[in-house]
């Protein structure tokens, strides 16, 4: 036919997968308690972020949150495709990482830690604390309440990832602002 076999099979499987997801979502998720709860988590975290964020540094903090969101989405989707984990509850039926608790919490918390901790030392301590809470309190809680399913994964695997991500993103934002400063100095 029009398709070569590899892609044709992938498209058929994708069709089936999306169909199953939408079905399951309509039956078990949409307008159920967990669905409203998840929506509440997103609204709550956006609200808290907006209250706490330093408005005079908004572009910088949003850049940090945006970078965190991209990395979170990519890692979450890769883990889901590799069936390392799964998000059983979704606000929308497709692209599950988009409505996973991770996206509601990581960009917000990471960017606030970035905002409040101005030196590497305080930042690292805060990150260490955050990674510990995430891996050993929050994630088990999410598994227990069935928002998150670990398939081929252990809680402590996430620990170095959370820390590396935080360090990398802080380094990157600082670097970006340093490049801009240097470039402006040259112009003057």
């Amino acid at each position: 036919m029009f398709f070569d076999t590899g892609i044709a099979t992938a498209v058929e499987l994708q069709k089936l997968l999306t169909y199953l997801r939408i079905n399951e979502w309509l039956q078990d998720d949409l307008f159920h308690f967990r669905w409203f709860f998840l929506l509440g988590v997103f609204a709550f975290s956006a609200l808290v972020w907006w209250k706490l964020v330093d408005k005079s540094r908004l572009p910088e903090i949003t850049l940090h949150a945006g970078l965190t969101a991209i990395i979170t989405l990519v890692l979450d989707e890769m883990g889901e495709e590799l069936t390392l984990w799964e998000y059983p509850a979704d606000i929308i039926a497709i692209f599950p990482p988009l409505s996973a608790v991770d996206l509601a919490s990581l960009p917000m918390i990471y960017s606030l830690i970035y905002q409040y901790c101005k030196t590497w030392k305080t930042f690292l301590w805060a990150t260490l604390l955050m990674a510990t809470i995430f891996c050993f309190i929050l994630e088990p809680l999410l598994v227990w309440s069935d928002f998150y399913l670990i398939l081929k994964w252990k809680y402590y695997y996430g620990f170095p990832i959370y820390i590396t991500m935080a360090i990398f993103i802080r380094w990157m934002v600082l670097k970006i602002y340093a490049i801009a400063r240097k470039s402006k100095e040259k112009q003057v």
Binding site: G6, L13, T18, S56, I70, M78, T83, F95, A180
Partner: protein
């Protein structure tokens, strides 16, 4: 048999099969083949050109635009692939193919340069329309011709409208973010 397992269990099984098809196909037909190298070259060239043209003094602002566009386009791209609107027959990496097909990178970087070069709403709107036209009626058909991109339940006209909408929306958000910051700085000083 598949119908016997319900909900999440079935989804996980299908996801497993889909990923293994992606990886299998990638190993047999894509990786280290001519088109794969071509894609890698396009990736590198796009990033290198973008970096050269980027106004470094305004890099935090332009990058904010790039990052927000990437989040929105990545979500739309993945949703469209899941809804069988389009498919990417070749990608650099077999997991999350959408991010290593060339479309996402190219569109985000081109729109961010448009943002950089056209600082007023009026000039930006006209530029956004022209650039979106080039992206959807020249760039995308070229990709489709070379089989880097296949439209299944989609057409170039939809892409055109989508790019204009995203370009204008993200500019609105970035302008708003900067005006909030300026207001806050004025109040504190």
């Amino acid at each position: 048999m598949l119908l016997a397992v319900t909900g999440s269990a079935a989804e996980i099984e299908i996801q497993k099969m889909l990923t293994s098809v992606h990886i299998e196909k990638w190993l047999q037909e894509d990786v280290f083949q001519f088109k794969w190298w071509l894609l890698l070259g396009l990736f590198t060239l796009t990033i290198a050109l973008w970096w050269r043209m980027l106004n470094k003094a305004r890099i935090p602002e332009i990058l904010l635009y790039t990052v927000l566009t990437t989040i929105v386009m990545m979500s739309i791209d993945e949703c469209g692939e899941e809804l069988i609107l389009w498919v990417y027959p070749i990608y650099l990496l077999p997991v999350f193919p959408v991010i290593t097909a060339i479309n996402l990178l190219f569109v985000s970087l081109v729109l961010s340069l448009t943002y950089q070069y056209f600082p007023t709403w009026k000039s930006f709107s006209s530029a956004a329309i022209i650039i979106s036209g080039l992206l959807s009626f020249i760039f995308e058909p070229a990709l489709a011709w070379a089989d880097f991109y296949r439209l299944l339940n989609w057409n170039y006209g939809y892409s055109f409208l989508l790019y204009i909408a995203v370009a204008l929306f993200i500019r609105g958000v970035v302008v708003l973010i900067f005006s909030i910051a300026e207001n806050a700085q004025r109040h504190s000083s």
